[in-house]
Amino acid sequence: MAIFTPERNWWKPLGREEKLWVGIAAVWCVFMFFMLFGWYYLGTQNLPTVARRITTAQYKTLADAFVTKYKVGEEGATKVPVVDPKGDPEIYLVAQKWQWTPILILESGKKYNLHVSSIDVQHGFSLQPININLQILPGYDFIVEFTPTTKGEYSLICNEFCSIGHHLMTGRITVK
């Protein structure tokens, strides 16, 4: 009776079925534990873990220099820059209320270090339709090493609430 005090000596060995259940559950947990290593080596898409501290002003300077250097056009009412880094592996993406800047044109099969950081509040990097999601913080330059493998247009949306215009925040990455 779970709501009454138990009998005096409740420290009893497990029954047969209990041992079986706990045994299976424990084996499964151990298997899952080893699979965490397994997935790391078997999978081709692992968590990015490289980041460095940076002030928002420093990050903006770096990203602006990148955009100025490789800008090939503009798009939309607010003239969002379109950037083709032409083989430079160090590429920059800025999250700010409420736009991902710039629009990136990348080459399929080429390895990139995508720097992504915010210059105001926290944002959520969400690349669609492949549904890759990262948390973006101001003050941290998140460096994501990746190789685009499939050509096409990918949309960026923001999936961390970043104040009242959050749902307006979009961007694009084109892989050619």
Binding site: I3, W11, K12, M32, T49, Q128, L137, S155, H166
Partner: protein, 522 residues
């Protein structure tokens, strides 16, 4: 039965008590008043949160899209605070007083302090609600800096937390005094052990919350220049996720209690069940790391360690309860003679008892939807595909709403006749309430999860991105699941309204002693 002064039972104490005619438990009058006030306040918070749930649910339903963007985000913030914090913690405060005093035949220690705790929590909750509705804190439940809320928001949050810490301390002190005064023999009941687990987790959880929120308040007051967003996220989720483990432990304590109340179930092995609770204390706080897997700034070793073996030990705890409770129900039913076939015990179970239905649905929704989705989200590579999508929302609605809230609702149907000493209002509705609520929440959670796999972001007003500068088109199949989530919300809100009507109606029923354990006959 009138309250009587009790020199013979509680000698030398100031307490009044009554003896419950159904359970023969002694009920401390001071504890009873606190249980009633905390429970009623919890239901007020649930009503507020539920109203907001309806409005935001109808906004995310693409064909309805009810609220304006500012009000959507505002009420979403208020919904999170009222449901995840105020409803849960006020109800748990009532549960802790119930466990420590009534189940242990004990007197409440520090009655005045318990009222101070209640007042702090109430003032905190009112402040937070007011400041959000005034539009001064559109920051969501998580309130990530450098997003700014009014300092009053953090002050309200902190006042509430201080009250909750006091409740945990009073609970633990009451148990210690009860032990010393020999109010109960031998070990404490399993349900109280589970509640003690919840209280211990609550203490380190709230400490982590203080480490996140106090510097944030100082930053908003201009005393410190900046608040590191990465530091905040680590400490906040030590509070935000671990707080849900408090709810989890309390829910499981209530599962065991309802199993006893409805079919007279006895834990199959006390030792095993208690070990499972200890696993929670030791390991489940690591679930917090799942919010941070795709964060910058944390080393791969940190992420790896925290998703690995330690988390699975907590999962093992849940797997033990998942065996232990159904096995206890089966044994109890078989002992009553329902032995026909493999599932005769289940078919003959008291399916008309609202508590039993709540228990089964709560276990099913938590066990088959909430728990597994959470374990999946805890794997790094999969988290990359799910972080901040609606999958997260689907996961925690299956755990904390379909699991915890439904269990709390089921438990209320026993508290009203036995503690409030009033018969239930609208008994024909009571039978259906857990079904409507449970099916609604399950539908909503599954639909949210599926929409999230198609990229639907959480906390988002417009997934069509109508006025965005660069147009975005998410897969059209997602809309089907957004709509389904809306329908699930309507059903869940209907179940919620039924619950509130039953509770409020019962408060106006004439007071009388319970005549039976079954709330339908009491």
């Amino acid at each position: 039965m009138a309250a009587v002064a009790t020199p013979n039972v509680f000698s030398g104490s100031r307490n009044e008590y009554r003896v419950c005619p159904v359970t023969t438990l002694k009920v401390d009058a001071a504890a009873e008043r606190l249980i009633i006030w905390n429970a009623v306040t919890a239901i007020v918070a649930l009503t507020l949160g539920g109203t907001y749930a309806l409005l935001i649910g109808l906004t995310r339903w693409p064909d309805v899209h009810l609220l304006s963007a500012p009000w959507f985000y505002r009420l979403l913030t208020a919904h999170g605070m009222n449901m995840l914090v105020f409803w849960m913690v006020f109800f748990e405060a009532a549960g802790l007083y119930f466990g420590a005093c009534i189940l242990l035949n004990a007197r409440l220690v520090g009655v005045k302090l318990a009222w101070v705790a209640y007042a702090l929590m109430l003032v905190g909750a009112v402040m937070v609600n007011y400041i959000i509705l005034a539009g001064e804190a559109d920051v969501m439940f998580s309130a990530y800096p450098p997003l700014e809320a009014s300092p009053l928001f953090y002050i309200g949050y902190i006042l509430f937390a201080v009250g909750a810490i006091l409740v945990c301390c009073i609970f633990i002190a009451t148990i210690l005094v009860a032990k010393k005064e020999r109010r109960y023999e031998g070990s404490m009941p399993l349900a109280v052990f589970g509640l003690l687990t919840a209280a211990i987790i609550a203490l380190f959880t709230l400490a982590s919350g203080a480490i996140a929120l106090i510097p944030t308040l100082l930053w908003r007051l201009g005393i410190i220049p900046a608040m590191d967003p990465g530091f905040y996220r680590v400490t906040f989720w030590g509070f935000g996720h671990s707080a849900q483990q408090v709810n989890l432990s309390a829910m499981i304590a209530i599962w065991y209690s309802i199993a006893t109340l409805t079919v007279g179930a006895k834990p199959v092995n006390e030792k095993l069940s208690r070990f499972a609770f200890v696993f929670y204390i030791l390991f489940i706080n690591l679930g917090s790391m799942h919010h941070l897997l795709v964060d910058p700034g944390l080393a791969s070793v940190t992420k790896f360690f925290n998703t690995s073996y330690a988390m699975y030990l907590a999962v093992l705890g849940s797997l033990i309860h998942a065996y232990s409770i159904p096995a206890a129900i089966e044994s109890a039913m078989r002992a009553k003679g329902y032995n026909k076939g493999l599932f005769g015990w289940l078919l003959n179970a008291p399916w008309k008892e609202p508590g039993f239905v709540s228990l089964i649905l709560s276990m099913a929704i938590f066990g088959f939807i909430g728990g597994p989705t959470g374990v999946v989200l805890g794997a790094g590579q999969l988290n990359l595909l799910a972080h901040n999508t609606w999958r997260i929302t689907g996961h925690f609605h299956a755990t904390v709403v379909g699991g915890t809230t439904l269990a709390f609702m089921g438990f209320t149907y026993y508290v009203i006749p036995l503690v409030f000493r009033r018969p239930l209002f609208a008994k024909p509705i009571v039978i259906w309430q857990p079904w409507v609520y449970g099916i609604g929440v399950a539908t909503m959670s599954i639909a949210m999860t599926l929409a999230g796999t198609f990229g639907a972001p959480r906390r988002h007003w417009d997934v069509t991105f109508t006025n965005a500068i660069i147009p975005v088109q998410l897969p059209s199949l997602m809309n089907l699941f957004l709509t389904l989530a809306g329908i699930g919300t309507l059903l869940a809100v209907t179940g919620g309204i039924m619950y509130v009507v039953i509770c409020v109606g019962s408060l106006f029923m004439p007071k009388r002693e319970a005549r039976s354990l079954s709330p339908l006959e009491a």
